[in-house]
Symmetry: C2
Subunit: 650 residues, 2 copies
């Protein structure tokens, strides 16, 4: 297996621009191409604000917390060849790398002396820490000792850490401000390649991640051996060698060979990182059978194991996917990192296929599974994103959301993953082809790129997701016609599009792209109007926790009830099946739009016990109550109290 | 705090009979008194058969498995003062003691050379293993070293093991065939008392159990210091000193002082053993405030945290109680040991108060939470008792029931707990007072005791729980009137009672005792007829997994659907709300009576995804299907496939 389409030869794509994250090689058989770095910055709106807070609050908080844990000290100790006194869990290096990746993308968004200084300094520490033979993992070097290298592949996260290092290095290289990390990463990858593979050591890491990192490194450097090594690591799984007292092979994505898995299983983040890496591999190795496997896995995931929010993972135990339709609200795991990983996977499938459903899931996941992981102020984090919190729920369990967002975690993967995702977010919103441009996500954006062989300049103005109007203004005349494709979200029945205020264009079935092919003039205005009426959603009846319930959605946002907006205990509230819903301005922080609906307070016979004859003593709807729903991603920003996404139907 | 009512002074109760498990002291303020050993043997029926299989299959299997693990070797190593080579988890000694307790009760039920030999031999090993100062825990003695004594109270289960030892010793003593274990137990208890308590070492065990053991030892020996030590161990909890990386204080019943806990929480078996021990303590110390706490805890448990089966514990993680109303069917924990512990607690509350609801729960738990833990052949065990298994559920998780009952477990608490419970089961069925006799559970029984100051002889004949007729024949004339109290189960609306075929007696509200007070003649026949029509049950709507569903019950048995009885995938079946139900003979193993009901096969739109507009595409009931339900306790005895207790309503 080689870098099938050859490589782009380094830092630029075929248009000459620098690349962002996920850059398929020039001849890779992808339907869509990412824009080059800086070609479509987010210029405002909800995501612009989130990026700003990420830059100003979250990333500096990361520096402070990583320092406090002793993460940098680990590298210094390794550089000094000291032994003992390692800080943090075995994957602590990986947290540094993810934060470093965020620094790189941020500097592409705007110069920062502070970020440049941090990057230079920490990259230096890493370079100094690397062993002479290219090996690099401070836990082994400082604490366990070199004799423990790869001795505990299930637990020690060595190759996982290496993967995160490679990702940060690729980011430094692509953003044109490599502080020397790419050379470190190449030495690490070379060391891995010399260690693992056919005729060498057999084995895979307990935590996938390196697969996509290696393919990206191959794309970046043009060296196919890195892609081959990724191919080895994907292909070698399923031997059930990862099997510990605590977790069985399924947890480690090691129950079956990857190509025999029909639905993601086990630890959610592991399974999703692996799937994303396998997608990169399938693209670069033109492996259509592997593509079929990936599409089947993804389809079964969304058809049986996905929360309404796009959240993934329904078990606290093993942070894992449950069985099909096992999607409890209260015990939902929906790790923030699983949202990141799901976006990474869906983005790769979108580039590969050009199918809108992958962009649909990215949107659902961004607003409702990733964003809830971060406080509005950017300084607190949810690791777990449950869809329901009962009043009186115990705060004592570490996985419970009852304690609210935390300022940091001993395992800080979610905060650092959020940082790097927000720093590179614009790269997931717009693509191009030889025919034109595709806008997948709607947010204020300034697009200056090349499509269909000519410069294309567009400005996107919108208040989305609060308002459904998206105005796209063409800023340059085109020499030849090109196609502007706009995603009509699957929920957007009744979307309308006009060009220059003319007759409405024909809109396809929601969940497809509307395609406008013309010779554009400077000042042309495309107006997309997405229907923003609140809507009630039901779930497959096999999902216990949602049966007999409805959820409120509006646009791409899943809404929820919070106790703060209701005098009656949330446990007593139900919603009228035929309720009208009113969209109102919201005073709740971060939520510009609230939704009001008609409900009732349930009247129960007190102290009557849990179980009754079927025909007796059922609770009765009582006094009418106005339900007030706020976007789920904003919950728990006014203190933490009862919350629910799925509301019992009266 | 002392042995408030004084002690019975040893092995006999005030009637001169030997005592069984749980023997309140003579002056303890209990409403009911247990019968003496051997006064009411079970003579047949379902429980008679289970006792026979326990004796012939399960207990010998225990000997074999405990030997194979190396449990006895541990004692030999400790006796030889060898170091290293310990076998099994830290609580392995405890498994031996529970099995030894079963041996003792079995020998009271009928002499057995084999059991006597095992008991003598293993008791000898234990005696030899005890350290000179009375300390006894082979993990510490053989593996960790004496410097580790009580160094890890949260994890090492030392005092827990000691508690099980004491329970076995009390059983040996009460059954009159002490092989020397009581002396060992007294030395252990004395060592504990010298180590822990006011002015000595502070601390409690991570796993409660010793509390009830110490009170029983106090009752057995008449030594109040053991009861005082139990008082210390109950009172010292709640300091949050048990707090580990893996589990917080709640897990260890150490979040709050016991008297401040209003609902059992954390690890279910820990919480329930503690509550049972605290009840013993409250009885012997005449502590009415503690009694109020216990009643409140129990009431909140059954009102918010109990499965229909009586099963307790709804979280895999921490084997724990969930939040109120958090009772998933698929992820139910319902550890078999939690059923044992719940029966132990309810029995103590029943003796204390004489209230039928505690006997009701014992019945529900015995048939539907304890019995499912054991295969019909007596040689396989469920640790976890889920109320639903989906087709296609992963077998890979150790806590999943998808793998069926196992022949043994690395943590074998459930098998040994089942053994000792079944060996002593008859002691939980009948009580006496100064006024008469109370029959709490209906099974063929031969009662020969003393009540109201005179000999009382009754024979109970019944096919219960398959049939509702219970015939009680009086075998001796009484000198003065006495009261026969019969529990009318809470579900038994329409129960009828006649004496000698006369006019039906007035039957109280179900969930109370029917009381017949008369001067009985030899040959008097009391006929109790409990209504055995199948019935549909609904759950509180706050229980997600049961909302919109019904369960089938008949008599004390919870029924379930098994895939083996249905051609249509269980996931597609629903039950008609107004269905008639037919009781039929069953060919399914262990299930004499099946229940048939009218249902339908749900028709779903294939591949339509999990989430839909509320008013669109809901599944529709399709072809009529006859549902065939079997008793839940018999499930998974015909292979393991989909099963559900709660059936969607059409």
């Amino acid at each position: 297996m080689g870098l099938a389409g050859g490589s782009t030869g380094g830092r630029t794509d075929e248009t000459g621009g620098r690349q962002g994250p996920v850059a398929p090689s020039g001849r890779a058989p992808v339907a869509l191409r990412p824009l080059a770095l800086g070609e479509a910055p987010i210029t405002g709106g909800l995501w612009g604000q989130r990026q700003q807070i990420n830059r100003e609050v979250t990333i500096p908080l990361g520096a402070e917390k990583l320092e406090a844990v002793g993460s940098f000290e680990n590298f210094k100790a390794a550089a000094a060849r000291r032994r003992g006194g390692y800080h943090g869990p075995v994957y602590q290096d990986g947290e540094v790398y993810k934060w470093l990746e965020a620094l790189a993308w941020e500097q592409a968004r705007g110069a920062s002396k502070q970020f440049a200084g941090w990057q230079r300094e920490v990259t230096g520490l890493i370079r100094d820490a690397q062993a002479d033979d290219g090996y690099l993992n401070t836990f082994i070097q400082v604490e366990a000792g070199d004799q423990e290298r790869y001795a505990d592949l299930a637990y020690n996260h060595e190759i996982f850490n290496n993967g995160a290092l490679i990702q940060a290095a690729v980011a430094q290289a692509r953003t044109g401000n490599d502080s020397g990390l790419l050379a470190v990463a190449e030495r690490v990858a070379t060391h891995l390649g010399a260690t693992f593979g056919p005729g060498k050591r057999a084995g895979v890491c307990g935590h996938p991640l390196v697969e996509m990192a290696l393919v990206e490194l191959g794309r970046q450097t043009g060296r196919s051996e890195y892609v081959n090594l990724a191919g080895y690591f994907v292909g070698a799984r399923g031997q059930r060698t990862l099997n510990t007292r605590e977790f069985r092979p399924m947890y480690y994505s090691d129950r079956l060979p990857f190509r025999e898995i029909t639905s993601p299983e086990g630890h959610a983040v592991r399974a999703l990182y692996l799937a994303a890496g396998a997608t990169d591999l399938a693209v670069e190795s033109r492996d259509s059978e592997l593509v079929d496997v990936l599409r089947l896995q993804w389809q079964n995931m969304v058809a049986t194991k996905m929360y309404l929010t796009g959240g993934l993972g329904s078990r606290w135990e093993g942070e894992a996917f449950g069985d099909p339709f096992e999607l409890p609200n209260d015990r939902a795991y929906c790790e923030t990192c699983a949202a990141v990983a799901s976006i990474q996977w869906a983005w790769r499938l979108l580039l590969l296929t050009g199918e809108a459903r992958y962009a649909d899931l990215i949107e659902r996941t961004l607003y409702n599974a990733l964003l809830p992981g971060l406080s509005l102020d950017g300084d607190r984090f949810f690791y777990v994103n449950a869809l329901e919190l009962r009043s009186g729920a115990s705060i004592e369990y570490s996985r419970s959301v009852a304690g609210g967002r935390q300022t940091w975690y001993g395992t800080s993967c979610c905060p650092t993953n959020l940082m790097r995702t927000l720093s590179s977010l614009e790269h997931y919103f717009v693509t191009r082809t030889g025919d034109g441009l595709q806008v997948h996500q709607y947010t204020p954006t300034r697009i200056r790129t090349t499509a269909a062989g000519q410069p294309v300049e567009l400005d996107v103005a919108t208040e989305y997701p609060w308002d459904g109007a998206v105005e796209i203004t063409v800023r340059n005349a085109s020499a030849v016609p090109w196609e502007l494709a706009l995603r009509i979200p699957a929920w957007a029945t009744g979307a309308r599009v006009t060009v220059n205020g003319g007759e409405p264009a024909e809109v396809p079935t929601p969940g497809e792209y509307l395609r406008l092919n013309r010779r554009w003039e400077t000042g042309d205005v495309v107006l997309l109007n997405l229907p923003m009426a609140a809507r009630l959603t039901r779930a497959d009846d096999r999902i216990d926790a949602a049966r007999g319930r409805a959820a409120i959605e509006r646009g791409p946002l899943v809404y929820c009830l919070e106790q703060a907006d209701h005098k009656v205990d949330l446990d007593l509230l139900c919603i009228e099946k035929g309720t009208e819903m009113t969209v109102t301005e919201s005073a709740s922080p971060g939520a510009r739009i609230a939704v009001e609906a008609s409900g009732q307070a349930i009247s129960r016979v007190p102290d009557s016990g849990l179980y009754h004859p079927l025909d007796g003593g059922a609770p009765r709807p009582g006094d009418p109550v106005t339900l007030r729903a706020v976007p789920y991603f904003t919950w728990a920003n006014r203190g933490v109290d009862a919350m629910r996404v799925w509301i019992p139907l009266s």
